[in-house]
Symmetry: C2
Subunit: 261 residues, 2 copies
């Protein structure tokens, strides 16, 4: 099977023009099939602030009310997505910007939760892997914004890590999928304050041990849980690491590789 | 050859949720191949006002400075485009939202003008008609936002009427193209204040006569000039009329049809 890299870019890289540009150049140099999934950085929060729209937080999680949905649709699917696509085009990479609504590639439903109303937040039901494979075979590089749609045409704010994971799982029948979570950290660290404590390979046993010893940075736990879930669903490899070292992540010379055994 | 409807939606329809929704339902009912090109209505101006960004006008034309480009990218390619796509999806129409940068479908250059710097405004060089035909044959309905890109990856604000016209011309080798400009007026009127003076068919001789007699509303002149240019480049028919009567425009039972002879 052909290798497909599904690469999530997040964190501070999106907000830093120079770093984003260097990352996109590295992405363009990745040979073979690839899909980019991006978040929105701090731009959505900044736009909300500039418009005087208060952010609602419940238990530290942002609630997506109608105004916030309007903002994230503009920022993620408009500004960030089209700027990434335009930069990739200038390098000769034929990028195709997509939300989940476009070509119906990601159908979701509004999150149901017993006590918290998250607002217009989507949990993913279905990915049109055939359509995405078609775009790849036509020479296009999908660039996916973290906005999905439900069957009734309601746009929904959706976690970009989860989108990357669901894409990876659904594309695994047809491709050897390598799922790369790239952000501003070097990978999974034994000591969150010390980049030299990078763990190069982590399996489930090792992970449980580190988690019990509270040696894993809390923000990393959902990423690693998602990684194991992806591996259990046919994804070949999950790599977590620094977006500034994308070629090293692709070649497995840096970052943390998460394996099933 | 197959018929392809290229439909521009503009004016007040975009700003009116109910009218837009009814229009999209009629669009879904148009049989065969179709492409929708949309403007942004007043939402971009409103967002600029809300953010306290002053609009620069020269000779009544809006100048697209960097801040305005950011706003139109968010509003046109983000909010408006994704809301139209999501609504069409809910009706069962498999819409694909695109800017000109996506899949490199519309390449433009920054407008050169001897005395006015329009800012980030694009004039179109090239349409990838093969790619658009490919999307159509795959069952997708392209929904195009009026944002293009230059070879260096610079996004550019581009007139939606012109995009519709350039698409129509470039697709004419492969399809019998009918170009429909739909907006809030019934069509070309002899008396701009009286909708009952609708001209059902207009040719070049008739148009020149009306123009000389100042019987054509000034805002209509560029539309009609564009229409004749499109007909000269192989487009089969150009129809101008009310977006609330789209099925009548498609069936030629209402609106103004512009013909070459």
């Amino acid at each position: 099977m052909d290798t497909l890299f599904i690469i999530k870019i997040g964190g501070n890289i999106i907000d830093d023009e120079g770093k984003l540009s260097a990352f996109l150049r590295s992405l363009h140099e990745v040979r073979g099939f690839k899909i980019l999934v991006h978040g929105g950085g701090k731009l959505a929060t900044k736009l909300a602030d500039d418009l005087g729209i208060a952010q609602q937080l419940i238990d530290g999680r942002r609630i997506t009310d109608a105004e916030t949905l309007r903002i994230v649709t503009m920022v993620y699917a408009g500004f960030v997505n089209k700027n990434i696509v335009a930069q990739l085009q200038s390098m000769g990479c034929n990028a195709l910007g997509l939300s989940g609504a476009d070509a119906r590639i990601i159908i979701a439903h509004k999150r149901k939760h017993p006590s918290i109303d998250y607002g217009f937040v989507g949990d993913i039901d279905q990915v049109d892997h055939s359509r995405l494979a078609g775009f790849l075979l036509e020479g296009l590089t999908p660039v996916i914004a973290p906005i999905t749609v439900d069957a009734g045409g309601q746009l929904l704010n959706t976690n970009a890590d989860t989108i990357a994971q669901e894409l990876a799982k659904s594309m695994s029948d047809r491709f050897d999928v390598q799922l790369i979570y790239s952000f501003e950290k070097t990978g999974v660290l034994e000591d969150a304050a010390d980049e030299s404590t990078l763990i190069r390979t982590i399996n489930r046993g090792h992970y449980e041990k580190l988690k019990n010893e509270k040696k894993i940075f809390a923000g990393m736990i959902p990423k690693i849980d998602n990684a194991f879930a992806a591996l259990n669903s046919g994804v070949k490899k999950v790599i977590i690491g620094n977006a500034e070292q994308l070629s090293g992540l692709v070649n497995h010379t840096t970052g943390t590789t998460i394996i099933n055994e």
